[in-house]
């Protein structure tokens, strides 16, 4: 077909991971280029001069930036598996929750594990609040997208995968199984999806990397 799809990312980043999940769900063949963020490649800087960040999807030489923008682009470009629903109200709802996860959940999760000592306790409380909100939003659904994985589930890799990894690496407990039974079931279903499994970085390697990178913040634990 002469189509070229390249993904610039970093292994271990949930933002990169979500793009790989989407591409795999759509059955798109792509080339993955791992970036060393301490030493960004000229290609990355050429494709994303404004933010100089990953992930960047380059489709037939043209770059698409920002993970949520990329996810919608993938959905609109390749047919087959629907990432977003068709109905405008359901689409708006999906976009709302994707934004909620990115703006409220992930920063709190990250701070509670790797933030400065004085910020961590407050962040842990915040995590408990936002996870409960997600628990309530799940209701009786198997996935946030309904019967199948959708946009919100893909974005929620930060909860499906990163949360558990961070908990283990930082030795912090964030997921209360008694208070969040639906979310815990969702995590199990999420991790059982074969396309998702294929997109996740090796867990032990990531834990070792995180401990090494942020260890100075946890010397007392």
């Amino acid at each position: 077909m002469g189509e070229e799809v390249v993904l610039f990312g970093t292994r271990g980043s949930p933002y990169t991971c979500r793009i790989e999940i989407a591409l795999k769900l759509k059955g798109v063949q792509y080339k993955y280029i791992d970036e060393d963020l301490a030493n960004k490649s000229p290609s990355l800087l050429k494709y994303n001069p404004v933010h100089k960040k990953v992930p960047v999807l380059v489709h037939n030489g043209k770059p698409v930036l920002e993970s949520l923008v990329i996810l919608e682009y993938i959905d609109e470009t390749w047919q087959g598996y629907p990432i977003l629903p068709e109905d405008p109200y359901e689409r708006a709802t999906a976009r709302f929750w994707a934004k909620f996860i990115d703006e409220k959940c992930f920063p709190a999760i990250f701070k509670s594990c790797w933030g400065e000592e004085k910020e961590r306790e407050k962040a842990v409380e915040e995590v408990s609040v936002v996870l409960k909100i997600l628990e309530d939003e799940l209701k009786e659904k198997k996935f946030f997208g309904g019967e199948n994985v959708g946009l919100v589930d893909i974005v929620a890799v930060v909860i499906g995968f990163s949360l558990g990894v961070y908990e283990e690496a930082a030795r912090v407990e964030l997921l209360n199984k008694e208070k969040l039974p639906r979310l815990c079931n969702w995590i199990d279903d999420f991790l059982s999806n074969s396309f998702i499994k294929e997109s996740l970085p090796p867990r032990d390697k990531l834990i070792a990397y995180l401990r090494n990178r942020f260890r100075s913040g946890n010397a007392s634990k």
Binding site: E66, V69, Y73, E76, P88, Y89, R91, R95, F100
Partner: protein, 219 residues
């Protein structure tokens, strides 16, 4: 079906203004409900329990929250008139990227210009100008960010124009001197009825900010 579209809003909010512009662009009749943010209505708390913020669009009783999510929703429901986004996925992604850039870069910095003093204010001014210079670069020679027609990125950015007099007065600088193309673009947008009727007068915003600073003891 007079009130099937309701907007919960707060008149100086540049986020609420985006929705007003979007509704006007599509020619949608709606009921505007002004919220007192110090005393939020039960309706607002019911329709946006998570963030408790405006704007909220209520369409046939169902709430849509977050201004750019609402603007996209309006574009997708009333799709036959004045589309905000291009139909081609790549150009659509390009527009969404720049709307996201505006979301990330403008509000917090702009707020610091009127809300802070001294070094913090100077840093904010510098960042503000840098951000708008980048936006000037993206605009280039096009009449609108959307190209020949007013679109999603224009809607995302133009509402900040109502606050420019406030930023310039508190920050003691001229945005036009630094970014003339942005001002030319803004004036072009203001020639559209949908924009002119949706943005409050710049001086009113300034008076509001002066009052707000006093009320919250920010002077």
């Amino acid at each position: 079906m007079a009130h099937e579209v309701v907007l919960l809003d707060f008149w100086p909010s540049m986020f609420g203004m985006r929705v007003r512009v979007a509704l006007a662009e599509k020619g949608i009749k709606y009921e505007y409900k002004e919220e007192d943010l110090r005393n939020k209505s039960p309706l607002l708390l019911k329709m946006n329990p998570i963030h408790k913020k405006i704007p909220v669009l209520i369409h046939n009783g169902k709430p849509v929250c977050e201004s750019l999510v609402i603007v996209q929703y309006i574009d997708e429901v009333w799709k036959d008139k004045n589309p905000f986004l291009p139909s081609d996925p790549y150009h659509k992604a390009h527009s969404r990227f720049w709307a996201d850039f505006i979301e990330q870069k403008v509000y917090d910095t702009a707020r610091k210009i009127w809300a802070t003093k001294g070094e913090e204010q100077e840093v904010a001014k510098k960042e503000f100008i840098e951000t708008f210079k980048i936006l000037e670069g993206e605009l280039g020679e096009k009449p609108f960010f959307g190209g020949e027609t007013f679109g999603f990125v224009d809607i995302a950015l133009i509402t900040f124009y109502s606050w420019f007099y406030t930023y310039e007065t508190f920050g003691n600088f001229s945005i036009e001197a630094e970014c003339p193309k942005i001002i030319a673009w803004a004036k072009r947008c203001m020639q559209k009825e949908s924009v002119a009727n949706s943005l409050p007068d710049q001086k009113k915003i300034y008076e509001f900010t002066v009052w707000m600073k006093k009320y919250f003891g920010m002077d």
